[in-house]
Structure formats: C-alpha cells, structure tokens
C-alpha cells in the first residue's frame, strides 16, 4: 500500500469519501513528516499544526455525518506565503512583511476553504515572488527534495518542494514569469498557470498586476484539475477576473487524444536558447507518446523567445516597482539583496518603454492566437536543464533556465509536467500551452502523458 503521504489527491479523496481514511490520520501523518524532513528542506515558513488538526477533526465529523463536500474535503493543502490568511501572518518571505497579519483570506483561499481543504502551512517563496533563493532573509530558502544541494527554483519554491516531498498533497503557487512552472519542473511535479484572469488574485501579494496568475501545484495533472474545480469562481472584486463558465476539469481528463494537433515551438529550444540534451531527448520521447496516442505533431514558429522575455521583463519590472516604490525608498534595508536589486531596477524604465512593451505584447498575443488556429496545444521544455546548485542564481550569473515567460505575456494557460529523469536522477520537464480558457485540454494532455510515460511512480529518495 502507498504511504499516506504519497497518495495523490484523487486517491486520498476516494478513500476519504468511502470513509476508509480519516482526514485526522492523514494530517497527523503529514505533520510527522514535516517535523522530520522540513528542518532540511525549509519548505515551510509556518506550520499550521493546531489549526490543521482542528479542521481535520471537523472534516471527519462532517463526512461521517454524510456531509462530504467534494474531492478536496479533508485534503491537506499548503499556501505560498503571499496568499493572505485571516489572522495568520502572510510575510512574502520578507522582513518587510514579517508582522503582516491580514484581516481576510485571499479569494482563492476562501474557495479552497469552502471546498473543505485543510491548510497545513505557509510555504517558502522567493521574497515577494521575485527575490531568488536568498540566504539573507528571516527564513532560509527552500531546497530541492531530489537533491538538497540543488535549487527548487521559484518563486513558488516551498510549494514545489513540499508537494514533491509529500509534505502536502497540493499547494497554491503564483506565476508572473514562470513561478509555478519553474519549481514544478525542477521539483518534478505538475504545475498549472491557468488562463490569465480565470483565478482571482485578490488577497495575494501582487508582483505585476497584468502578469500575475494564481494556480495549483500538485503531484499530478489530475490533482491540478481537482483543485481547478474549486478555484475557478468569478470574483467581481478582481477587475481582471473573467466571468467564464468553468467545465468539470476532472471529468474532462477522460477520452483519447486522437486528432489532437500538437505544435512544437522547436526554435525556442534548438535555436533561440541552448538546451540540455537529456531535456530534448525527454521531449522527443513525449512527442512519440503523443503520436502513439493518435495526435499529430508538427513544428510551429513564433517570434524568438527573447522577444517574449524582453516584453515580459519590461512590464513586470515596471509594475512591480510601482507597488514597492515607497518601501524601496523608505526602508530598502528590509529587503534581501536580490529582491531589492531586482525591484529597484524597475525604477529605470521609462513610461514610453512600458507602453511600447504593452503594444508589443498585443502583437505577441495575436501571433500566438494565429498559430493556435493550426495547433490545439503548443509544447516545448519548461526548463533548459535539470535543477542547478542552490546559490547559482540566474540573475547573478545571467543564466535564464526556463522557457516560461511567453505564456505570461500572452495569458494562455500553460502546464509543466515531469516527462523523465536525468542520469543524475533529477526531474526533466515538458510545458504544454493551450488557447485561452482551454485549461481543461492542457490538463488532459498532461494527464495522458503522465500515464503513458510512467513518471509519477518515482519519488525523491530524500522523502522516501
């Protein structure tokens, strides 16, 4: 039998619904693991043991009385520590917000609470979702459970590490330039950046309002689908939130991929940026699996990846600076060095250049929409290489490890899945992008590939 902590949400939910697994037993099991493993993993800023056990007891009583709320009822979920939690500190992993205690939950936290999820802790993040794996903050940076000397990536670093290590069954991340998909890739899990605006951002510490996305991070695409069912609620108080009817994401996973048109943005990883050969081999293996399942595969062309990166960087840095300007002027010493430097750089971008970037963005949105008339999904690696040593910060070295920025600029949904392992035993990754509000198709393709490739059977040795 699978250990409780390595059950997927779908598996645990079925047992809980059948009254064969107690949410209390499940939470106690995870708390024991957090105490044993997290002193080395650093995935948590705050462990919410007492609150989680209280919620688990309530969930157990409700379920035994016939009040099962759905697949997330009694399921332990972690929250990146930029999600506001009523009465519980939400720090952004920063000394600046160390004493910040919100008076209300983020909208998405409310959604999960109403679905019966149990919150087990507040998870590490790059400072304010931008700073990098830093050693000069009040809490240490999360580490990668596949190799503790490696970076889990970020900014949803604790979310990726905790899910991969079996310290929670799902987690919320946020993605402005790849902050869900990067740690999903390097930690070997599934991470969905939904269509821009489908999930409310209200109550989440902002980084860049026109690029920020909330989203789920889980062991499988199926679990991300279960979380999406609870999260896609319209929030009229987030002006970017789309009032779009949501499908049953989990029900949409079934069926074959016959006739699916897969577009490979090959120039991203063969011409625009050099990519590790094992990563490319895993991608080719995934393409073969897609063909075997009845999909057609062909190469497509977009603007060079650098155009997306340049556009996204100018927009995100400007918007992030606008939010942080007063604090950067008044109390810069309360930021870590990476966060302070990256945020301050936004002060140097002119208004005209920001507008130019937004105009360029409109062109890129149109370009992807045109290509997606001939392809139902677009694929390319999430990461250019497996996880790097922690401390080899991309901004310090100039190395950009990910192909993520394109779908933040265009807002299309994008999922990262694990599509293999390197010779060193580190996860490799594939990214699947879809048309706006076709997140269900993206998850269906991810789910089919995870089953075909068999990558979900292997867990980090550290966590076994």
């Amino acid at each position: 039998m699978t250990d409780l902590h390595f059950l997927t949400i779908a598996e645990a939910s079925a047992k809980i619904h059948a009254k064969a697994l107690s949410p209390v037993e499940l939470v106690q099991s995870l708390m024991t693991r957090i105490k044993a493993l997290d002193p080395k993993l650093n995935s948590h800023i705050l462990v919410m043991e007492e609150a989680a056990l209280t919620s688990a007891k309530q969930a157990e009583a409700d379920i035994m009385a016939g009040g099962w709320k759905g697949p997330l009822h009694g399921i332990p979920i972690g929250l990146k520590d930029i999600y506001n939690t009523k009465g519980i500190a939400t720090t952004g992993h920063s000394a600046l917000f160390k004493e910040h205690v919100p008076t209300a939950d983020a909208f998405t936290v409310q959604c999960l609470r109403e679905a019966g999820a149990i919150f087990t802790g507040k998870l590490s993040t790059w400072e304010f979702a931008i700073g990098g794996s830093s050693f000069d903050l009040p809490w240490p940076p999360a580490r990668n459970p596949w190799d503790l000397t490696r970076d889990p990536s970020g900014s949803s670093s604790g979310s990726g590490a905790a899910v991969a290590a079996g310290l929670c069954m799902g987690a919320m991340g946020s993605d402005t330039g790849g902050s869900i998909r990067g740690p999903a890739a390097w930690c070997g899990i599934a991470g969905l950046k939904p269509t821009y605006g489908w999930l409310s951002r209200r109550g989440i510490l902002p980084l860049s309002f026109s690029l920020d996305h909330a989203g789920p991070m889980c062991w499988t695409s199926e679990d991300c689908a279960l979380m999406m069912n609870a999260l896609t609620k319209y929030d009229p108080l987030d002006t970017a939130c789309a009032d779009v009817p949501a499908p049953d994401f989990a029900a949409a996973l079934v069926g074959d991929l016959k006739g699916l048109r897969v577009g490979v943005v090959r120039h991203f990883f063969e011409t625009d940026l050099s990519t590790d050969q094992q990563t490319i081999a895993a991608l080719e293996n995934s393409l073969m699996a897609l063909r075997d399942m009845g999909a057609s595969v062909s190469d497509v062309t977009l603007s060079p990846f650098g155009v997306y990166t340049d556009t996204g960087s100018l927009i995100s840095r400007t918007e992030a600076y606008a939010f942080h300007q007063a604090w950067l002027r008044e109390t810069p010493e309360l930021y870590g060095a990476f966060g302070r430097q990256r945020l301050m750089a936004g002060a140097f971008i002119s208004g005209a250049d920001y507008v130019n970037a937004q105009r360029q963005r409109a062109k890129l949105v149109a370009e992807v929409a045109a290509v997606m008339k001939t392809a139902d999904v677009l694929v390319f690696p999430t990461a250019r290489c497996p996880a790097r040593e922690i401390g080899e910060d991309s901004m310090a070295t100039g190395f950009q490890p990910f192909f993520n920025r394109a779908f933040n600029v265009t807002g299309n949904p994008a999922l990262s899945i694990c599509d293999g392992f390197s010779a060193e035993g580190l996860p490799l990754s594939l990214q699947i992008g879809g048309r706006p509000f076709e997140d269900a198709l993206v998850l269906k393709v991810g789910h089919a590939l995870e089953k075909a490739l068999g990558t979900r059977q292997r867990r980090p040795v550290f966590a076994s």
């Binding site: 002027r329 060095a337 301050m344 360029q360 409109a362 062109k363």
Partner: protein, 58 residues
C-alpha cells in the same frame, strides 16, 4: 539607449541603494535598457489597437 549616466539616472529615482548593490543593479538596468531598445521599433498605431480601458454597459 539612454545616454545619461547610471549615477544621474539613479539620482532621479530617489532611491538610495547600498554601495554593494550598485554593480548588480547597474547590470540589471543595462539588461532592461537592451530589452527596451529591442522593442522600440517604429510601429503604426493603426495596426496595433491597444486599450487597457474598457467599459461595460451598466
């Protein structure tokens, strides 16, 4: 590319970074300057309608 010196531009921002932040900050700004320069191409506005401001009927 902005020809004003980094120090002069920094002074205009009102920011007071520590001396040890300056090399990294200057490198980050140089990268953003290059990015801005790369998309500063002349583009006919009539072919690029863009508005972030949209009203709905009451």
């Amino acid at each position: 590319m902005d020809e004003t010196t980094f120090e002069a531009r920094l002074a205009q921002t009102g920011l007071t970074p520590a001396k040890e932040d300056l090399p990294a900050l200057q490198a980050l700004v140089a990268d953003l300057d290059r990015a801005a320069d790369s998309i500063r191409a002349p583009r006919p506005y009539s072919e690029e309608p863009l508005s972030a401001f949209r009203l709905k009927p009451a």
